[in-house]
């Protein structure tokens, strides 16, 4: 992603006293975009020692936890912090893990994911609204058996491809919540009633909105074959990183389906892919 733009200059274009809300929003977004575009959407694998180096002068508590994780071949793959990081990290790792399976296993996993499209219909999404995103996922799955890891990284750094897959996965998660509302209402109800549609609209369907705990739980439930572990490298007490496990509520009916274990490394406000 070599297109680095200049940080937009306020004074050159605008009289600072005349900035209206819309202009301020636009300029703020441009600054964020420029900052984010300095990193690839999906980066290369790095050993955890690289991450520790970033904190070498800091007193961040998470550092201790990172040290505790750091043995053996542990490492991470950085993902751009653009509000989609958890989604992009999950999606990339999903494809990466599948790519190591046999062609037959990829096929059967693809069929399993195709069968979940019915969730989108059950949730009331129009096919016009979702079809382009869903097709992108299945295009890439179809090519997956012949791809090298390097080519997969290249595809994920094509924003059109990985963003479409992210929207597909976001819609699956939101559709799961909408079709299992009773399971989720207690977590969404703020005391003044729960509006599932509004929650999904604000927190899951919209692009560039960070995934919260419910979103990740719904994503795992919607996909059936993925177990997700989130390694918390945060400020909480203790010297060992806490790992939150997300296990699908229903399991796939086909016995032959492979099971994938995805791990994400969480630092406050950001997710990368974790490898150990």
């Amino acid at each position: 992603m070599g297109h680095e733009a200049e940080i937009p200059s306020v004074t050159a274009e605008h009289d600072q006293d005349q900035l209206d809300d819309l202009t301020i929003l636009r300029l703020t977004q441009e600054i964020k975009d420029v900052e984010a575009s300095k990193n690839p959407l999906v980066g290369d694998f790095r050993p955890l020692s690289v991450l520790l180096d970033e904190y070498k002068d800091a007193t961040f508590r998470g550092k201790i936890k990172c040290q505790a994780l750091g043995g053996g071949n542990a490492g991470y793959r950085p993902v751009r912090g653009d509000g989609n990081c958890a989604w992009r990290a999950f999606a990339f790792r999903y494809f990466e893990l599948l790519s190591r399976l046999s062609k037959e296993e990829i096929e059967i996993s693809t069929k399993s994911l195709q069968s979940r499209t019915r969730l989108l219909d059950a949730a009331g999404y129009s096919e016009t609204g979702y079809i382009d995103f869903v097709e992108e996922t299945f295009n890439l799955l179809q090519k997956l058996p012949d791809m090298t890891q390097e080519q997969l990284v290249t595809e994920f750094n094509n924003a059109e491809v990985s963003s479409a897959i992210i929207v597909h996965f976001r819609l699956l998660a939101a559709a799961y919540i909408k079709t299992h509302a009773d399971d989720y209402i207690p977590f969404i109800d703020d005391g003044e009633g729960a509006d599932i549609s509004e929650y999904c609209n604000r927190n899951i369907e919209a692009f560039s909105v960070e995934a919260d705990h419910l979103a990740l739980s719904a994503l795992v439930n919607s996909m059936l074959i993925v177990h997700l572990g989130v390694v918390y490298m945060d400020r909480s007490a203790g010297e060992e990183a806490v790992i939150h496990d997300f296990v699908p509520a229903e399991s796939a009916s086909e016995v032959a389906l492979p099971s994938l274990k995805i791990e994400l490394l969480y630092r406050p406000g950001h997710y990368d892919i974790f490898y150990k």
Binding site: Q151, E198, N201, F207, V209
Partner: protein, 172 residues
């Protein structure tokens, strides 16, 4: 053999063509929209009829829709190209309603209960929202402060200005 797909047709154009076809075949009452020039799918013109039983009744209001290159990940912007006196329309014609903003990208943070942009929204949903905005202004998230004040404090004057604009759009 694996081949990279970097040159594939832009998602935005494909989606806009689909939406355009659907709007031609089954446009909702009172709304029409399409590209100004079919060589550029990112600039549309639309016409919105003023809703019945409102001072906008009888008017036909032209506006432009400008789509970003990453549509539908991000929303379009909408701008009336006629005189429009309304609490939720800036003086330059730019429409300010929640569906045209993604969550967190909203100058009026307090319009809490309303629907935001996401990739499953559509031009049709935007235009339907704009029609109901004409019928029911939201004076908590004002874009035109003068229009907000007049609408709140002097409804007869508000109706008079709006009706004068209606006559202008009809060339009277």
């Amino acid at each position: 053999m694996y081949k990279s797909q970097n040159s594939r047709t832009n998602t935005a154009v494909r989606r806009l063509m689909t939406e355009y076809k659907q709007l031609i075949n089954e446009a909702p009452d009172g709304i029409s929209a399409g590209p100004i020039d079919e060589d550029n799918f990112f600039e549309w013109e639309c016409l919105i009829q003023g809703p019945e039983d409102t001072p906008f009744e009888g008017g036909v209001f032209p506006a432009t829709l400008t789509f970003p290159k990453d549509y539908p990940l991000s929303p379009p912007t909408m701008k009336f190209t006629c005189d429009m006196f309304h609490p939720n329309v800036y003086k330059d014609g730019t429409v300010c309603i929640s569906i045209l903003h993604a969550p967190g990208d909203d100058p009026n943070m307090y319009e809490s209960a309303s629907e935001r942009w996401s990739p499953i929204q559509s031009v049709e949903k935007i235009l339907i929202s704009v029609m109901s905005m004409l019928a029911e202004p939201n004076d908590e998230s004002g874009a035109n402060i003068d229009a907000c004040k007049v609408w709140r404090n002097d409804r007869a004057e508000y109706n008079r200005i709006v009706k004068a604009n209606v006559r202008k759009t009809l060339g009277l």
